[in-house]
């Protein structure tokens, strides 16, 4: 194939596709609209899921192990102990809380029951380490591992980590991830099916056209290419419309929900990246949709 023929072909295909889009404007609009709705649903779910996960990650920062030190611990041994604990792979941060700091915190917390404070003479609270964990260990298993490591250390009186809360958090996280994955995969498959089914119906309506093209001597690629371009266009236009609709829904939500939850509907990427991803997915699904629709027709005879 010569260069000039190639250029002529490309021009022809693009012209052909745009002519077909205009010629089947109604069908195309219907298809684009359906595609955009499916993409909006998928996008909304993905954005919500990612934000929810981020939010849960910040909750995860609350997973803390508190090591209460013995009353009689020598003050020069706390520093090496801190270093030792910091060196554990699970540990993200460690913070020393002295007896004085502890009583201060306690006072603040107990504002209500002032009576107790009056009764307290000497400071009965121990000094402690507050240990923050690295992300992968912010769960029941992670906590159990570090607690086991801490238990063997000298000078430790007690270890606290709000077992109930950690277990609940871990359970919720695994629920959330499993549910998110299953629902996400289901939505993704649904979107792919809805888009390819829609394109399939538009292609099917033009079965006769394809048959005639073949009778006039057109090769498979000659027949298919304009449909691919059309599918690409439908996917792209659907994605653009989905972007607009998604932002419209988002805007409505922002207007109607307390500001503190607006982070849940943040777009978790730079807007340009978000657009590029959405357009990429849209076009890919459009082309894929026409691909599987056409394979069916071009097989028969």
């Amino acid at each position: 194939m010569t260069i000039s023929l190639l250029i002529r072909r490309i021009l022809f295909f693009v012209k052909e596709a745009s002519h077909n889009i205009k010629g089947n404007l109604f069908t195309n609009m219907v298809a684009i609209f359906t595609i955009s709705l499916a993409l909006t649903i998928l996008t909304s779910f993905a954005v919500f899921f990612i934000n929810m996960e981020d939010m849960l990650d910040t909750f995860g920062a609350d997973v803390q192990v508190i090591v209460y030190l013995k009353e009689d611990i020598r003050s020069d041994s706390t520093s090496p102990m801190k270093e030792k604990i910091r060196s554990f792979t699970e540990v993200d941060s460690i913070n020393y809380v002295s007896k004085e700091m502890a009583i201060q915190v306690f006072k603040n917390e107990l504002k209500g029951q002032k009576g107790i404070l009056d009764e307290l003479g000497a400071n009965p609270l121990p000094s402690s380490f507050e240990i923050g964990l690295k992300k992968p260990f912010r769960n029941s298993d992670g906590v159990r591992t570090i607690v086991a490591k801490l238990k063997v250390l000298e000078g430790i009186d007690d270890i606290h980590y709000g077992q109930e809360w950690v277990d609940r958090f871990t359970a919720f996280l695994s629920f959330f991830k499993a549910a998110g994955l299953i629902i996400g995969v289901f939505l993704l498959i649904s979107t792919i099916f809805i888009i390819s089914n829609t394109i399939r119906l538009t292609v099917y309506a033009r079965k006769e056209e394809i048959d005639i093209m073949r009778l006039v001597g057109a090769t498979e690629s000659f027949i298919k290419t304009p449909f691919f371009i059309e599918g690409l266009f439908e996917g792209l236009a659907g994605a653009i419309l989905a972007f607009i609709m998604f932002n419209a829904v988002r805007y409505m939500l922002l207007k109607n929900i307390p500001a503190s939850f607006s982070s849940l509907i943040n777009i978790p990427f730079p807007v340009t990246d978000f657009m590029i991803i959405l357009l990429g997915i849209g076009t890919a699904m459009g082309v894929f949709g026409s691909f599987i629709s056409l394979t069916r027709f071009l097989k028969q005879g």
């Binding site: 002529r8 077909n20 056209e209 009778l215 001597g217 057109a218 498979e220 005879g301």
Partner: protein, 220 residues
Amino acid sequence: MIQLYHVYKNYNGSSPALTDISFVVEKGEFVFLTGPSGAGKTTLLKLIFCSEKPTGGQIIIDGKNTSRFGTREIAELRRKIGFIFQDFKLLSNKTVYKNVALPLDIIGHRPREIKKKVSYVLSYLGLQHRANYKPLSISGGEQQRASIARALVKEPTILLADEPTGNLDPALTNSIMELFLDINAKGTTVVIATHDSSLIKKLNKRTITLEGGKVIQEKE
């Protein structure tokens, strides 16, 4: 050019459409195919055109046995054959001009060349004023002429015409027959399926008569 050896065709579940058909059409010949409705004329042309597969026998076009053809070879063959379909088979969403230009677009001619050739054939067939109409907005005879134009524009080496004048008045029929004779004189092999006995009489060419799927008469 076209050789048929003991060709059979059964559409599934019905009496055979063609039975033991054998004949040879030489390069540059002009042949009429005739016979009553349902005799198998269209089926025979479709077999030559590879849009139906024979149930038995061999069909050799231009030295090549079509039974081994894949989609690619079939497309290639069809680019060399002009076929005028009994039911026109025009693309209803394209103008007459684009329908006629399609075979040249497929081959990949230059736009200027395409324009010249299409305009020429359209004006010869008296369709220049219908060039920008869609097939459903023109008369039956105009559709038939558009279908003829599409078959001729690529200057085919073989022309297969299925009832090409059924919707045309006597004057147009004559001028189109002249056109067929003309391209035949330039070397194109022509096979025309028709009921029009007056046409066959007038031109006095080789005529193959089918009935019930069998050749019942051959006249040189």
